[in-house]
Amino acid sequence: MSSYSVTEPSGRQKWFAGILVVVYAVITLLPLLWIIGTGFKSPEDAIAYPPKMVFQPTVEGYVNLFTTRTRVPEDQLKALGEPATWYDKLVRKEGVVITGASRFAERFCNSVIIGFGSTVLCITLGTAAAYAFSRFKVPLKDDLLFFILSTRMMPPIAVAIPIFLMFRSLGLSDTHAGMILLYTAVNLSLSVWLLKGFIDEIPIEYEEAALIDGYTRFQAFYKVVLPQAVTGIASTAIFCLIFAWNEYAFAVLLTSGNAQTAPPFIPTIIGVSGQDWPAVAAGATIFLVPVMVFTILLRKHLLRGITFGAVRK
């Protein structure tokens, strides 16, 4: 390449572009940092005016998130004596004592079980289907692929009523198995389309060589194609996980307690006086951090994942 190019932006242009983008990035980041920061504030600091940038960090929000608190009358409080535990000490203001565990841990576990369960199922079904679509002459291939994609266009509420009825009669409502099946179906289109793109990129010659060496189709699939597709499978899995992790509409409409995930729970965290913002922020932080880490890891495949492989970088 020559040192001079008409398409290479000048130094000044780069500088100007850089500054504008950084300003936008900082504006974007501000609400996120505010969530994380609020999680470490005391309830008074969280609702201080003007909003506090510098504050004394505390884990009270996290304690409030994982526990249930009750207000106790003054005399009873005195009878209880000194707070026994450090976390009780943290919330022993305004006559509040810890009475037990909140349901956050349980809901979070549900998110993990349903998220991972549906991801494993989705990847298993998706890889098989994607391989078949990529390598074989499947009758009505284009129609089937479009059909799979079109299932994504349906508003969740539009099918929620019959799914609600169906799950009720099958005994699947408010169960982990039911939600895993549902989220698998929701994410299957993404999984098939994305994996098909990844498998299309693996040269077919590898399998042909394996077949000539005496492998069966099946052996060629799992000994040759699968190891080659492993990066694609991993990033598809993370996308399925993130979608299931963040899903709210089905979770709030079809579950009531047993299998409810964290997104419907976090907004319902109420303190002694209205919404307990530090606890909400603590819950949001715990819930958002894995996704943020995955986003950073996924940088390279991000575009593909969010556009179902329709656009490649």
Binding site: S5, V6, T28, K137, V138, I161, P162, I242
Partner: protein, 315 residues
């Protein structure tokens, strides 16, 4: 009869390999691999959809399972199309769609254009900008109600600080004139990066040689932008609009947590409205008809749009 050695080899080889490729035929494997996915999608997507269509012609109510189910023909559809509340939520949805798409395309494209200047560290900043769209809309929406609090909320404070207004004098989510903008702002914050990423892919797909040729022809930068950059990015941009349009038409989680459809029903988008009919008023038949209308609308609009998109692509 085969006599020459070459003929014998030629005829012997294929069966030998075929015999070693044991097990299922390709056709059987293809079916075996595709079938589970199709069956699951039929069971959890198509079957419910057909059920919804069937329910839409009845007066069934989920909370009254023992009441006789009557076939009411098109009455649900007629009721919906003559209901002013529903037209109002259609209008709210249209307003939301138009503004989010306009803002996200303008800001997203500008950002992509700037990032394409390849300044130092642009990868890091791009990753930061992309973060919001990976987060849970419900959780984020809930937290934004905090940022929108008059006085104590960060958003109000910053806006108050910048404009010189008293931050406690306005509430984004409690005022009928500001609430629609409150959801537009959060949606734009979350999804502009999506448009940006697609535009960036579009910009990077334009070969430098086209600009070099234009430079030789002494085309101005402005002219290059309008005759090269824009037309070549347009198909990407249209794809981004399609994805955003479909997603925002279904918009539910963010709005429910942010404004809950209020104040009054000013931000009650169609999904929220539908949820109220189906899961609060339990008018199942009526809600099913509503769902069918929404589905036909989104499917119809998307199909027309995809046709236009394909035309642009072929140009």
């Amino acid at each position: 009869m085969l006599h020459s050695p070459i003929d014998r080899v030629a005829s012997a080889t294929p069966p030998a390999i075929a015999a070693r490729i044991r097990g299922l035929s390709d056709r059987a494997i293809a079916w075996l691999f595709v079938a589970p996915s199709i069956v699951l999608l039929l069971a959890i997507n198509i079957f419910p959809l057909i059920w919804t269509i069937r329910l839409s012609f009845t007066n069934f109510r989920v909370n009254r399972p023992n009441a006789p189910i009557e076939f009411v023909g098109l009455r649900n559809y007629i009721n919906i199309l003559s209901d002013s509340d529903i037209w109002q939520s259609m209008q709210a949805t249209a307003h939301f769609l138009i503004w989010t798409i306009v803002l996200q395309v303008l800001i997203g494209f500008s950002l992509a254009y700037l990032i394409n200047k390849k300044f130092r560290g642009n990868d890091l900043w791009t990753t930061i900008i992309v973060l919001p769209m990976m987060l849970s809309p419900a959780v984020v929406g809930n937290f934004w109600t905090f940022l929108y609090q008059p006085q104590i909320g960060l958003f109000n404070y910053v806006v108050g600080f910048l404009t010189g207004n008293d931050p406690s004098s306005f509430s984004m989510i409690a005022s009928t004139s500001l609430a629609p903008w409150a959801i537009v702002i959060v949606d734009t914050w979350m999804w502009t990066p999506f448009v940006m990423l697609i535009c960036l892919a579009g910009l990077r797909s334009i070969p430098n040689s086209i600009y070099e040729a234009a430079e030789c022809d002494r085309a101005s930068k402005w002219r290059q932008f309008w005759t090269i950059t824009i037309p070549l990015v347009l198909p990407f941009l249209m794809l981004a609009v399609l994805f955003r349009g479909i997603e925002n038409f279904k918009m539910f989680d963010l709005v429910v947590q942010l404004t809950g459809g209020g104040p009054g029903s000013i931000t009650e988008l169609t999904s929220v409205n539908l949820k109220r009919a189906a899961f609060e008023q339990w008018r199942t038949g009526y809600a099913s008809a509503y769902a069918v209308i929404l589905f036909v609308t989104v499917f119809g609009l998307a199909s027309i749009y995809v046709k236009a998109l394909n035309k642009v692509k072929q140009r």
